[in-house]
């Protein structure tokens, strides 16, 4: 029997408490846990640190199978653990595409074998992400991977009829369709947010309306067929308004925002540095402020990383030729602390909700996103919120280093991560 005693941690940012882990489970939470119950326990002094439920990322790209030069399930889950995550949902745009039970089971098993973080595969909505024919959604759900979230992420399910059918079909087993909202015709040749900066730089524009029009359509479809829809990486003030309206109307919609859309703006594209090239693109200051507000008031339900690793050569080139995407697992909590906690918009308990409870609920990740109390699985993250330091990608566990934060000072650091009672990160280092 293994025992770990975390002493004096601010549970969800509240009063300091002691938390006792026995094997895979939290067995006691309280002040001054008696010597007898904690006897023989390994003690972690957590004075002043914040204890959160293990973070859950509903939107990760692990690249395996197919692009192991960017990331693998092993390197990606090590990055996830470093960032305080105990579960990640792996997007389906791999090679081959995760559109069959075979591929999703393979990814799921790799996660279990490596043991750094639970990997919950997301299944493709359509065969080959081609938007034409529904993938075998039921078979993926019934596989060992137990897929509940379906997405063609990277591409939009733009055919209204296919989207309607997918929304209807997954009702049979309580699944959810996660939409990458991007009207394809309006974004042909798009390189960055369409607006003042794109006009000046002469880069192809990705207009806000290309995102908003799809979200508007999809919430109406979800209402019509009585299903639920999840909107990936909201990026505009207008999208927030549509989701707010849909929720007020009782439509079953949830939405996510990425850390980078909470902090960075399209002004950075003036550097033509492809590290800032991402889809959806970085938007304006006004959008950033609207997204922060919406995450604070619950219109946006969760933070998801859209961790998108790319090898150096895919970014060390001219803007137009560069791949889209940024890594995010290892910096997500720091960016959320900087933009939401240090600004007073969210408490740490709210952070636990947006980054663990709510994503686990949306993705039905059983065993994750649970309260920190006796009897619950010991999936936990300990955060040193007083830490300040510059981001150094050389120390990343992710195989790729395409972070937009290199050299930036960000607050907060994960000191410990526990996956079912086993430490995956100890004193800021992978175990």
């Amino acid at each position: 029997m293994s025992k770990i005693l975390i002493r004096g941690a601010k549970v969800l940012g509240g009063e300091p408490q002691d938390v006792l882990i026995t094997d895979e489970t939290i067995t006691a939470v309280g002040t001054d846990l008696t010597v007898s119950s904690a006897e023989g326990a390994q003690v972690i002094e957590a004075d002043g640190k914040i204890l959160l439920p293990g973070l859950v990322d509903l939107h990760t790209h692990l690249r395996e199978p197919g692009r192991e030069d960017s990331e693998t399930v092993l390197t990606g889950t090590r990055a996830a653990a470093s960032g305080g995550y105990t579960a990640v949902f792996a997007m389906a745009n791999t090679f081959p595409v995760a559109d069959t039970a075979g591929v999703v089971e393979q990814v799921y098993r790799l996660g279990q074998e490596h043991g750094y973080c639970d990997v919950q595969p997301i299944g493709a909505v359509t065969v080959g992400l081609e938007g034409k024919k529904l993938a075998e959604l039921g078979a993926m759900h019934e596989s060992a991977a137990g897929v509940t979230v379906f997405s063609d992420d990277g591409k939009c399910v733009d055919d209204a009829v296919i989207m309607r059918r997918a929304l209807e079909y997954v009702k049979a087993f309580g699944g959810v369709v996660a939409q990458h909202a991007q009207e394809p015709r309006l974004t042909e040749g798009a390189q960055m947010n369409e607006g003042v900066v794109s006009a000046e730089l002469g880069l192809g524009g990705w207009p806000a309306v290309a995102e908003e029009s799809i979200i508007a359509r999809d919430v109406l479809l979800a209402e019509h067929v009585g299903s639920r829809v999840h909107i990936c990486h909201l990026s505009t003030a207008g999208s927030v308004e549509i989701v707010r309206w849909a929720k007020s109307r009782g439509i079953d919609v949830t939405a996510e925002v990425t850390p980078h859309h909470l902090l960075l703006t399209d002004e950075l594209v003036r550097t033509y540095n492809p590290v800032y090239k991402v889809n959806p693109p970085l938007r304006t200051e006004r959008d950033v402020m609207a997204l922060r507000e919406a995450l604070a008031d619950g219109t946006i339900d969760i933070v998801a990383t859209d961790h998108a690793p790319h090898p150096h050569e895919d970014k060390d080139c001219e803007w137009a030729a560069a791949a889209m995407g940024m890594v995010g697992l290892e910096t997500a909590l720091s960016v959320v602390q900087r933009t939401m906690v240090d600004t007073g918009l969210l408490t740490w308990a709210d952070v636990a909700d947006r980054m663990s409870f709510a994503p686990a609920r949306i993705g039905q990740a059983t065993g994750h996103g649970r309260p920190i109390s006796a009897g619950e699985p010991a999936n936990l993250t300990l955060v040193d919120s007083a830490y300040r330091g510059e981001v150094d990608p050389a120390g990343f566990a992710s195989r790729s280093r395409n972070t937009p934060y290199e050299g930036r000072e960000l607050p907060g650091r994960i000191t410990h991560t526990f996956l079912r009672g086993r430490a995956t990160v100890v004193d800021g280092k992978l175990a």
Binding site: A199, L201, G202, L203, N273, C317, W319, A321
Partner: protein, 328 residues
């Protein structure tokens, strides 16, 4: 002046006037029996063209040769940029060969900026047109042409284009020439009006230092120069405007429209002109049209830019001073 010439917006008024004045000196070389200066002897300039443009390349090459530079032409035609490594690899090759300046043309906006700022290469970079972003030497030669025509070659020395009203007509959305000209002409004190159908004006144009109009006829009588932009045929099928005929009727420059311009006003075109749609033969062949002068002025401007970025200390044109002394 900055080390590189990437964007017309990088130039201050004084930089721009210095380039125009230097180009006047360079223009005089063209009138000599031997059109060559020793200024860049022993220096190597590479013309790095990832996109076809015979006109621009020949213009730069002529400028480089008149300054006695050694010229390397690198045409990466057909080499795919989709993998993206070609620019960096080529830059490092040129660096290893010790080139003293790189003139780059690229279909991707921002490629020259990347080349100049990524540490791949140390030499000065001159943008010869990147995507739909900038083409600064084109804007400089346009300004040079305007100053010569509206003020005069000698009277213009030291002058900017303060108070002149310039109209730019056509596909602003896809035009690096329009972007460069708006920046430079504004810096030189001119008032710029862009005229185009709303589909060919970029979202975000409201922050540019210029006016925007959809009505050519109302702008013409107030113009000192009208610059016609090329409309690519492929725009026709992309619903930017209904038909070629309708475009021509609303935004083309024909004899009737030219008659509405003030007597002194110029008609400009960056070339190559497609006669018919954006400009009629009557206008293109009239004495007001500066298209051919623009080509000649391009060489003088590029000589001036190369000299100022690479030369530096000695006077650009030493012998004309000797000529003048001899005249005394």
């Amino acid at each position: 002046m900055k080390r590189h010439l990437i964007s017309a917006a990088d130039l201050t008024r004084d930089d721009a006037v210095l380039i125009l004045d230097t180009a006047e000196e360079m223009a005089r070389v063209a009138d000599r029996p031997i059109k060559k200066l020793p200024t860049l002897r022993g220096r190597t300039v590479c013309n790095l063209f990832f996109e076809d443009s015979t006109r621009t390349r020949i213009s730069f090459e002529a400028a480089e040769k008149r300054l006695s530079a050694d010229v390397i032409n690198f045409a990466a035609k057909g080499s795919s940029v989709s993998k993206g490594e070609s620019l960096k690899d080529t830059a490092q090759t040129l660096e290893a060969m010790g080139v003293d300046a790189v003139v780059i043309r690229h279909s991707a906006s921002g490629a020259p900026y990347r080349l100049a700022t990524s540490g791949w290469i140390d030499a000065p970079v001159i943008n010869a047109g990147d995507g739909t972003h900038q083409h600064p030497t084109q804007a400089l030669l346009d300004a040079f042409t305007m100053r010569r025509r509206l003020i005069g070659p000698d009277a213009g020395l030291g002058q900017d284009l303060g108070g002149r009203r310039i109209t730019i007509v056509g596909d602003v959305l896809h035009s690096r020439v329009a972007r460069s000209n708006v920046d430079l002409l504004h810096t030189l004190g001119a008032e710029v009006t862009l005229v185009a159908p709303p589909t060919l004006v970029p979202v975000g144009v409201e922050t540019w230092p210029c006016e925007v109009s959809y009505d050519l006829d109302s702008v013409l009588p107030k113009s000192d120069a009208v610059m016609m932009l090329r409309v690519q045929r492929e725009r026709m099928n992309a619903a930017f405007f209904p038909t070629e005929r309708e475009y021509s009727r609303r935004y083309g420059l024909d004899g009737d429209r030219m008659a509405r311009m003030p007597e002194h006003a110029l008609v400009m075109h960056p070339g190559p002109m497609v006669r018919g749609m954006e400009i009629t033969a009557e206008v293109a062949d009239s004495g007001r049209c500066t298209a051919v002068e623009q080509v000649a002025n391009g060489v003088s401007i590029r000589m001036a830019v190369l000299y100022l970025l690479l030369g530096g200390n000695e006077p650009a044109v030493s012998s004309p001073r000797t000529d003048r002394t001899e005249e005394k």
